[in-house]
């Protein structure tokens, strides 16, 4: 038996279909590593590391040097061991990061929405 609230949260057919499409998209995320690697393209514009900026303009701007290390993300750049540059390693961790990130995002957004929305309609 579902409580009234759970019944209200139950997904309809379209929602289930979309969830499956999202799962498939998650499994395809390694494309985001493989395609740029195949075409040998660089970083996104304006998202270079301090080292790369030095190579581009000849110096590291002082403020950039100061702020660029302000936050150490647990899984920086969707990877855990940046020394391993093999494409299998990178796309594998990209996939795992995608699944973790999408799941956390989904759950947090659900939680926030439930807290905000009390409109029963």
């Amino acid at each position: 038996m579902l409580s009234g609230k759970e019944a209200r949260m139950r997904m309809n057919k379209t929602q289930k279909k979309i969830l499956i499409v999202l799962l498939l998209l998650c499994l395809l995320t390694p494309v985001g590593v493989l395609l740029p690697a195949f075409f040998n393209t660089g970083d996104a514009w304006g998202e270079w590391s301090a080292q790369t900026v030095k190579e581009l303009v000849g110096y590291v701007p002082k403020g950039l040097a100061k702020y660029s290390e302000v936050w150490q993300a647990p899984i920086p750049d969707y990877d855990v061991n940046k020394k391993d540059l093999s494409i299998v390693h990178r796309s594998g961790f990209y996939l795992v990061s995608g699944i973790i990130g999408a799941t956390v995002t989904y759950l947090i957004m659900l939680l926030i929405s439930r807290l905000i929305i009390r409109n029963e309609e």
């Binding site: 949260m9 660089g42 996104a44 002082k62 950039l64 702020y67 302000v70 969707y78």
Partner: protein, 232 residues
């Protein structure tokens, strides 16, 4: 389009944090009023979709990489206010867990991709696609809305990058933050998004709007509210 830490001066990122905080405050009130509890699962999926679609880095051969954002379609389907909340959640997770986009730049990144972009997309769509019965115009409007809103958000990001040398340089003339000025940053951001990433944003917007128009036409926010066909 995720500005990292160190590229924006405090004179830029602090005001944008303020705008972000104000927009979220209003968005929470609006979502509470406008969005039905039945659509809560959709909002979770919208945020996850935005997160995932931003992971699809696409290359411009010989150049850089970039990606779509998903803000346009979320704004059309669930409203620009819900899009603010959903895309901000995705951007915050990307910054905190994956270091994609800076912590100091979080307000700026949310302003560009989660506030400016969904509102631009929503109004563009409402302008072209005011009548759900004219399906081709709806799909065209959805494409244009995705394409232009991403390109305009990219230009806005380019402006934020490009004003840094004007705001903050050391006495020897070297930049303190982003070293490229408007003449370089704005065209760089605009052109790559016009050539490829905007087209992808436009296509996914049109495809998803088409799917909802066929399967859940009553759900589409842009046709329920604020659209020109509204008779209330």
């Amino acid at each position: 389009m995720h500005i990292p830490d160190g590229y924006l001066s405090p004179q830029t990122y602090i005001p944008l944090y303020g705008v972000f905080a104000a927009a979220v405050t209003v968005a929470v009130k609006k979502v509470k009023k406008e969005v039905s509890a039945r659509n809560i699962p959709y909002l979770g999926m919208a945020a996850a979709f935005s997160f995932i679609i931003m992971m699809f880095n696409l290359p411009i051969p010989g150049g850089t990489t970039g990606h779509a954002v998903g803000s346009a379609v979320i704004a059309i389907l669930f409203g620009p206010w819900a899009a603010i909340v959903a895309v901000s959640v995705a951007l915050i997770i990307q910054a905190l867990i994956f270091g994609d986009g800076g912590i100091t730049a979080l307000g700026a990144n949310c302003f560009n991709m989660a506030i400016f972009m969904p509102f631009t997309a929503y109004y563009l769509f409402s302008f072209f696609s005011f009548n759900p019965a004219r399906k081709r115009l709806v799909y065209f409007g959805a494409f244009i809305s995705g394409y232009l809103s991403l390109v305009m958000a990219a230009i806005l990001t380019g402006i934020e990058f490009g004003i840094q040398p004007l705001i903050a340089s050391s006495s020897d003339g070297k930049a303190l933050y982003c070293p490229y000025d408007l003449k370089i940053a704005v065209p760089a951001m605009a052109i790559e998004h016009m050539l490829l990433f905007g087209i992808v944003e436009g296509l996914i917007t049109a495809i998803i709007v088409r799917y909802f128009l066929r399967n859940e036409p009553g759900l589409i926010y842009a046709f329920r509210k604020g659209g020109k066909n509204e008779n209330e």
